[in-house]
Amino acid sequence: MKNPKSEIRNPHPEAPLSGKVALVTGGSRGIGAAIARAFAAAGARVAINYRRSKAEAVAVARSFGGLAVKGDVGRHADKLIKEVAAKLGRLDLLVNNAGHSEREAWTGDLDAVTEDMWDRVLDTDLRGTFLCSRAAARVMDRGKIINVTSIPALTGEREGIVYSVAKAGVLGMTKSLAMLLAPKIQVNCMAFGSIETGWVQWLPAPMKKSYESAIPVGRFGKPEEVGQLALFLATNDWVTGQTYVLDGGEARV
């Protein structure tokens, strides 16, 4: 039942990221924390970045012996990346997960979208992803950049025009970066549907039920499923420029 060849191919099947250093932006909770945990469990040394949630970030980092680093990705990306590379010695994996979450920006009323709202969302989700990626590419030898986007980027979203624009920008950026940074750095993006830890927390219970019934697998995604997908993109060297949709079959795009 044994195949000696495949055992030679992967000397650390339990720790595929052993020796690697990862930074997950916006890693103090939710999806970011799930990815950070998955990477740490796979043997990576992981830094998580936060802007305001220091206590949460420190607790998450401590849970897997990682590092919490403060910084606004839209403004201090260079400093942030340099700090991680200096403290952990290198950088192999960057997950651009930080996103500006603002409930008021989820609106179907065009007049309720303010210019400040527009700037706040795009500064973090789009500008932050660009600045962190560029800074990371300067210090990475070989590595992976994994971006986070969501279904509205692909389909449009009546009640989330600002987010759909920011996340559609991330889609284009992913492909352009994949071209610019090949063949040493693979750049991909995960497009999430409804994940338990994200915006679905804001839904009232009856609405949550009706959302779930529209998803073929009949439920929201779990943080571990996000971590598993991120780990795949962190380890496969021939996947680049791709958008992997994780949505239980909701969008089928």
């Binding site: 992997y244 994780l246 239980g248």
Partner: protein, 235 residues
């Protein structure tokens, strides 16, 4: 070696050679009981000798009789990988006869349809999953013949369609780019590598790892997973 698929039964069509063999090996090493089918008994046996205790059934997915016989052997099923398929000929549109079109669709689309239909009662019982092996040329056409590109596009569309209709059975497509598995000439390998961002062709193992992801991740459904060195970046 992990054991996450222990207790699961998988069927890989065309599982004895190339990408199919790598998928068979990956599923086997994840602990699954694996059944493979293929047209040549010899290559099925060779794969079993190389990989380990897998069940081999000679069957051509294009023949209904063979598929019926196959499902007399398959008694339970959690994972179906529709991998059988391939390019049988190459020509420009005006060089491709209707018979050539029919043959390409029989091999690359209807084979998967036929096996999926036969597998459905077992997959419903196990709430299992399906992975269809399509191609990057099904996402964005490339100079590989109009019939082959269109048949692979149809297989991708079928995967997305079934992801809704067959729920809770999950259905995903994996789209490999150029992977050298047969006797490719040096010039065609160079040409294939050139169309990727990675500037190299892929390995069967790199494709198999995406199949394993599609099998293991319970929230992947209706997804089209490109594994192609960045050759195609559109949905």
């Amino acid at each position: 070696m992990d054991n996450t698929l222990a207790g699961k039964t998988a069927l890989v069509t065309g599982g004895s050679r190339g990408i199919g063999k790598a998928i068979t090996r990956a599923l086997f090493h994840a602990g699954a009981r694996v059944i493979i089918c293929g047209r040549e008994a010899k290559s099925l046996i060779a794969a079993a000798k190389e990989i380990g205790e897998i069940l081999c059934v000679p069957a051509d997915v294009r023949r209904e009789k063979d598929v019926r016989k196959l499902f007399k052997v398959v008694d339970r099923l959690d994972i179906l990988v529709n991998n059988a398929g391939g390019m049988e000929h190459y020509g420009k549109f005006d060089e491709t006869s209707l018979d050539a079109w029919r043959s390409t669709f029989e091999f690359n689309l209807l084979g998967a349809v036929s096996v999926t239909r036969a597998a459905l009662p077992l997959l419903r019982k196990s709430r299992g999953c399906i992975v269809n092996i399509a191609s990057d040329v099904g996402r964005r056409p490339f100079d590989m013949g109009p019939d082959y590109c269109a048949a692979k596009a149809a297989l991708i569309s079928l995967s997305r369609y079934l992801a809704a209709e067959l729920a809770p059975i999950r259905v995903n497509a994996v789209c490999p780019g150029p992977v050298v598995t047969g006797n490719w000439g040096a010039a065609s390998i160079r040409k294939a590598a050139e169309r990727t961002l990675a500037k190299r062709t892929g390995t069967p193992e790199e494709v198999a790892s995406a199949v394993l992801l599609a099998v293991k991740n319970g929230y992947l459904n209706g997804a089209v997973l490109g594994v192609d060195g960045g050759a195609v970046r559109t949905p």
